[in-house]
Amino acid sequence: MRFIDVEVGWPGSVNDARIFKNSRLNHSLKAWLSQFPSSYVTTGYADNVTVQEEIPAFILGDSAYPNAVHIVPTFRLGECNSDHVVAALNGKLGGARYRVENAFGILKGRFQIFQRPMNCSTGDIRFAILLISACFVLHNFLIDVRDESGEWAIDLRDERDENGALERDHEMDVNPLLPVPEATRERLLRHMRCLLNGDDSD
């Protein structure tokens, strides 16, 4: 896992959503993500024509983050229990999340200074922030110098798609974009509902 942006220096009492809202990346996120091509997923059937909707490139967050066009949070536990479609989508999103949780664990394991409370923060909190930032730089540096193992290539191969969900048909009708920007998660949810209903009827 490679860090592409780090925001260090917010006190521990500030919550994740507020940090994201004020982070440097948040301002440029939309422009940056619009470079990537959108994908299309089937969200339903109307008059024997498959309805497809656009999924813009997005970033996956946990349930603390806002639900918007370019960021898709996972669901809270209460939401999962009430609806099996939500639970199914959450399962898929959560399957990727566990690797994310590991990324900070790897960093903290590699730099033992994070195992105990940092000393230098008592007098000079600014230096503590610099030191943490330097560790993130070194972490990426270490990935670069010893990453000839092709470790991540295994992840590309490990799972073949059993539902054929990857073989999307691009010739199908594409719904015109809705005028109001809608949270991408809602579209994914409709896609999931459509997939599950298809399975039920078969």
């Binding site: 940090i19 994908s39 900070f104 730099f111």
Partner: protein
């Protein structure tokens, strides 16, 4: 760690920025020792007092070395190693995520973590988090694929 020192000197070209001039008064501490003292501090979590006798330098000198190497890393390596990926790298990450989750469109992921610190003497209460200790909150954004070509 020695492996890393070699790469930091050669691969990242950090050496010229942390090498100090020898004077008539005394020779300077070699850049490798400076980097090694820094790495000893962050990678093994040793205190300045513990590092001091290892390299035969005073504990306040260790502190100076750690400060200098930290700022050299941030000045000269930050923009090289922490930057947004190119479109091609992003697309590879998208493919990797899609194969794993069967959901298209995921470029990266965002997450936060708390770095445990001692209570800062100034505005200490602000650093007390919901988990019950003093911390700095760090937000990171990742790609699934590690390599960048």
């Amino acid at each position: 760690m020695v492996f890393l020192v070699f790469h930091l000197d050669k691969g990242a070209d950090l050496e010229p920025y942390i090498t100090l001039q020898d004077t008539r008064f005394r020779p300077s501490i070699p850049s490798r020792v400076r980097v090694l003292a820094f790495l000893h501090h962050v990678m093994l979590g040793a205190s300045y007092l513990a590092i001091s006798p290892q390299y035969g330098i005073g504990s306040s000198t260790v502190s100076t070395c750690v400060h200098q190497v930290t700022s050299a890393i941030l000045q000269h390596m930050w923009s090289v190693y922490i930057r947004l990926p190119t479109v091609e790298q992003g697309l590879r990450s998208m493919t990797a995520w899609e194969l794993q989750t069967h959901i298209p469109g995921i470029v990266g992921a965002v997450d936060g973590t708390h770095i445990h610190i001692k209570r800062p003497s100034k505005d200490g209460e602000g650093y007390f988090n919901r988990k019950g200790f003093y911390s700095l909150n760090v937000q990171g954004i990742f790609l699934l694929v590690a390599t960048v070509l």
